[in-house]
Symmetry: D4
Subunit: 255 residues, 8 copies
């Protein structure tokens, strides 16, 4: 809050903007940025790059960095990532910029920014090659919330040995995200093998009837194992919910 008031005093922002920031959001040309979200639920506000111009994303990212010490951009193509890097490059905070090429996620941290570190683990499990990018988005988000993330890839049910080999490892997590497209059988199988809560993350693979992740989502909704689900390709939501559960576990552990 002090920074906002200082900026007001210094004439860098007006009264209206100060009021907005204190109310929990800041304004850029591309719309308001919800800085308060992080304070409320511990989840960084993600900037979905799809449907925005590189310039709009960069402006939102700069605001996020300015108000919360970091920025999280999802589904950014190369042009957008470059625009973000350039926009935050001159920041006094001397930030680091990391882009994961396969997921299109860009993470910006102000120098000295400390990611929370929770005493709780999230396993992010993916069925096949095509499911990995969406799983990766979930993993980045859970990491930013502060969870210890363990990724387990290529364990689709077409060859059961793969998943059976990894069960012990998955059982060590406090919460499990399972990404799968096509028929989406993996979340059901995993939820039958572990004790922790399982979140299904359907992926938009598959063509024809039930394609684009629909069969996978319906399979999660109909699962004969206990699990909850997010929408198709909603890696951010799955990672954030896993992060919230990890935060609850961490809080209980450190009470």
């Amino acid at each position: 809050m002090r920074e906002t008031l200082a900026a007001l005093e210094a004439g860098e922002i007006g009264v209206e903007e100060a009021e907005s920031r204190l109310a929990g959001y800041a304004t850029t040309d591309a719309g308001r940025f919800d800085a308060a979200r992080e304070r409320r639920r511990g989840i960084p506000e993600a900037i979905l790059a799809e449907g925005k111009t590189p310039a709009e994303v960069a402006a939102l990212a700069a605001t996020a960095l300015d108000t919360t010490g970091r920025a999280l951009v999802t589904r950014a193509d190369e042009a957008t990532a470059t625009a973000v890097a350039s926009a935050v490059g001159d920041a006094e905070t001397d930030p680091t910029v990391d882009r994961d090429e396969r997921t299109g996620t860009v993470v910006v941290h102000a120098a000295g920014f400390e990611t929370p570190s929770l005493d709780a683990a999230v396993a992010v499990v993916a069925a096949g090659t095509a499911d990995a990018p969406v799983a990766g988005e979930a993993a980045v988000v859970a990491s930013e919330v502060g969870a210890a993330v363990d990724r387990v890839d290529d364990v689709g049910v077409a060859n059961l040995d793969r998943i059976l080999d990894q069960v012990d490892r998955i059982r060590e997590a406090d919460v499990v995200v399972v990404a799968a497209g096509r028929e989406g059988a993996l979340p059901t199988v995993v939820a039958g093998l572990v004790d922790a809560p399982v979140i299904a993350l359907p992926v938009s693979t598959g063509y024809g009837v039930g394609g684009e992740g629909v069969a996978a989502l319906e399979g999660a909704l109909q699962s004969c194992s206990v699990l909850t689900t997010v929408n198709v390709d909603a890696g951010f939501v799955a990672g954030a919910q896993a992060g919230l559960i990890a935060r609850a576990v961490d809080a209980a552990r450190t009470e």
Copy 2:
């Protein structure tokens, strides 16, 4: 054919009816019965009881018995089963009538009728209690075609041990039918474990979005294992196709 001609000579049927029978179908008040189907593909013509009155079903069953030596009625309630038993009771062929209560299937055999006996095995696998009746319909049909049928029940993927315990047994079959509702993961898992062709048989369990077997059917269509599928609850079709494959194998074995 001789019987038809004899019946014509004896004045029991008219010329038109004789012509119809020779062309491969017989007429009752409830419509034509396709006696030729059995000759063409080795699959007994099934009489679907749903949407017909007990009297209509009984008339069709009597015609079937008369023209092919047996009758197969599916989804018959008790009243229909009784009507069939009564209708065929006076037949000169002194038939046997078997009804499976859970599937509602009624099988009538003329005395002395010999069910074909194929040198080929069909495994009919079901995920849970609710899937058993539909699986049962498939099993009866495959049996009537002549296959040796082995039923494996209650091996849903929510508890993988169940299916893993039965893999060796299922591997002995020449073709496998796998019935499952809800999320329908079982056919995908089984097709990843066996060498024989697998036919998915989605079952109309589950409520809400993807319920009534839709998720299970879409899961079969999107399966990352190799398999083909029939429509929801189409036990007759799954059993008949398994029977056709068993016939092909039997024919090859006995060449």
Copy 3:
């Protein structure tokens, strides 16, 4: 396990049944009962009464009581509840039978059965009168898992004061289930107001396009707040997942 072996020794059950029970499930005429589920995930196996005869449900409930010390029946009409009470009435365990009329849930506990007691709280929030039964099913299941359950009813968003009045109370829970039908706006609003993980529970109210809970489910999948969802009317799944999270929190608290 000892009981199973004793029952075998005593000739009450055969070898095959003993083997099945040790493998984690018991057989009744109505199919196998998965006793191991409770051991695996701490969630009692629920017996869905819909689509089964009262006699089938009663047999499964008796088996559940016998093998796990309790039985949980969902969506039971009065006839089924009576059949269950009668079936377990003679049990040596002298069980108690509780039926919640509005939800149709029946809980049977053997005398001396101790429900687990977790140091973790679940809030179950419902939008309107019509949402209460489904919310109630979730509440019963979470209670049986051992969570402390707080029910908050009639806080639909058509009158925001209702929900704003209850926010402090809801914030005390470690995990929140929010049941709503029609347009299903409540889970999104609640997830914007609390820090704990939120599970949406869409309810099959509403008619016309988007009715039967479809709009509510799609609203949860599209929510601009972070939350996960279960299928329409899946009170059991929502309560069980909340219970799993409560177990994780309880385990962390008591480490």
Copy 4:
């Protein structure tokens, strides 16, 4: 009418065209333009640019300007806007051309054209950044009908404080349009807070199941508050209907 007859007399148009214009529509190469619509309902005929070439749009706009003194083009890209500006540049009426870049709306007024000025107010409320362009289209249309328009942006329900802060302002309007995509909870919340009639304007945001505005539309149809809705992205219709209501209120005020 006089202008039409004068044009006929001057030989600028033929008899057939004159007859058409008097019957209420004019012909260009791209089809007939319904000039009478403005006379009938006070709503300017909008020219939807999508699916037409820049030349076709420009021709229709020139006819609109010619026959009604103004032109309203929606969803125009830059090329189309340029074509329109160029086409009407030579008009004797010396028109002004305004283009709103985010909504793609182009408004052309003949010099001296007086937009109606109604004594009635329309509030146009939008949930988030992505909803603003569609809301903007509604606002432009309502303005052209003559209403006093107040735009309230970025008040999505994920942070209730935003909307609660603006309620008094919204309550001053005679009719309210509420644009929201994703889960579309905002129209329901607003309709619970104000007395005026509310029109929901679903926006095609969101991906996966219920995406592209479907969940938002179904949420409006299922709303537990009283409101009516238009189709996804139908900013023109929402703005025009709000304008019709404003006209009714204005007429009553000035009786």
Copy 5:
């Protein structure tokens, strides 16, 4: 408010109930009744009888009568209507009970209750016989809000003369509700003929693809005339929204 406090003083209700009523809703065994809704928007809270027992509806109606001086029940069968009449029969307010048989609407007014009387008119237009009950529900609600209601029946577009004959009459209304099922062409035709705002009310007639009102609803959403719509069979919502517009017009007239 005085009545609530008096009831509290008299010991007829407890403190908690008094608080609830002052907060705007009262509690019965069947859930809370939103008495404040009438004060907020002038629309009586309707009690949808479908899915509730006669006793539940009667209890809610008695509370409504008690707290607001009237009760409005929709889709009540005869048993429910009787239960309501009986439940309110002993009320000190000596109420009148009117039931419209075709729509199933029951209106209860306390003796001396004065329905608001607005200086504004609503036309309720119906295409065919099957559309009349749903239109009737809209008409009753608009009347209860206080509008002067004119019903125009049997003017479906299969015979255009019918609707053309009634145009002058419909044009006298300040707002128009148009009920139609099947292909739902009538709202589009009417909105092309009148100046007032039009609300489409799709009706669940028609079978096969697009049946149950779906084609009519989609036709309203796609209309090439300006109009807004409610969900299929949502007579209450259409009537209430028409009432809100009538209230706005009345307020302007009487300023």
Copy 6:
């Protein structure tokens, strides 16, 4: 047939090709061309350009010209039209090539080819500008079958005067095709005004729910007037069916 035999004798084609042609279809690299269709039903085989390369279309067109004296290509872009013109340019038959730019239809006639001339009329009615190209495809096909075609454009129901002005003209036709997108009310209105059989031709206009012609198609299926329909944008089918009816009428007239 003589030409085929002559070509065989001349060595221009092989025996297999001759046999194919006599059996009613000719082979090109892009597949078989069904020359017999014209002989069977009087409808020229249309070559749908969408999804084929210009070269493939040109080859099929050349075969069509060669075997039937004409070629009809639908949905051809400019490149395809050019390829066709070039491919048939060298033909000994010295054909004429006509392309309708708005519909993308290309008609090629061998010099001296005589289009059949039926004593029967088809009216092709279109609601708006966007419906005209699809209507145009129907008109071209009906013309090629030999009907006298009268096109009536821009008579959408948003302004009833337009269609009422043209009723007498439409009543002169023996069969009527009515093209409309959006809500598709026009076919229902027209079928209520004329005696001749009406064929609805839904057009893929409109966005959001019910868009892309779905509402228009469902409106035709649900119409309260008597009419039949073709699929969305199926101008060829509508024109061909109208042509078949015109042929039947012509045959009756000339008996």
Copy 7:
């Protein structure tokens, strides 16, 4: 018209009713009856019994008989048929009442009523037993319009010989209606075999995905043969459209 005026003079009906009848429709308690429809298109107005009480149907039938000399009731159960017979029993016209039990169609003719007799033939073809009732409805309607109707049953494509045997017979018709459910292949096959226009009549058989006639309807819309279609089970519409075509042919023949 004279009868109406006489009834007015005799005081049997009032001025308003007389005016209505002359305008083309009569009023009963169950709504208006469109007597003019018959005059306009030669199609008797059908009274759909589904969703109406026997008394309502009987009243409409009596009015129909009174104003047009006949009545056509579709989908009447036995109670409705009895009510109709009883209602028209006392009519001075001494009518005949025919009910087809399988289709539920009831035809009432005043004594001396002469059904039109057209010089044109309609073939009504049905695939299987379950398709016959819907086909029957079409046949009755076409007969009432006056066409010579030939019914061809049980010619489904599972046994091609059946349909090939009947081709010559079907080719004698001027227009062909083809009823089929399940996969609905028959209309496509027939349209490939005959020259006359073909109308597909999808039937609501089949279960699971694509069931209830949906696959059959979509098959007609996608047919690679030229045909038009009506909605699922719309026997009346198919028969009436066939009748309209027959009328056009008859008119041409008798010019």
Copy 8:
């Protein structure tokens, strides 16, 4: 296995990779390649090129060639095919590379690789030109499994003579794949004509409602003949399942 160990010994791969390969899959940068699939079911693992970069596909193909002696790439455009050819060009195994242009299938065989040769035949039947590529994919896969493949093209039901001409040829196969789009009637017709098991392969042709192969798939699910189906365009699955059946027949023949 020896090769893997040799590669390990030679230091070409690490211990982890060796372990993976022995467990049945190999790792490339683009994910794991399931080499064990071929050993398990005799079906070569196909690399679906869609959604992968040419480089990713080439890497997977090289791994496949390395571990199984061949590679099968489906839906490869020219750039991908070139990348594959280039990537395997330097392999010591001196492979052959065959690309089918119409199907986009690329087959790579190491020098000396012997495709299995089964004593069993697969017929691959296609309705029209547009169905041939998908059918071709099935044919290539069945060939690679080792079946003798006979392709029968252009036998759509719009002209029954075509398919009747080819029946004897199709009857010689042990299993039949039938590819068809649009209304998809061909699989039903073929299954009524032959004794062997039939697999429907719906193709994504057709536009409007039921387009993109949906009507064809639903037609297969609803077929009144016995057959099973795969998803739309799933040529690989159809060919692989046919191959599995051929393998079963071959095994029986050679016992």
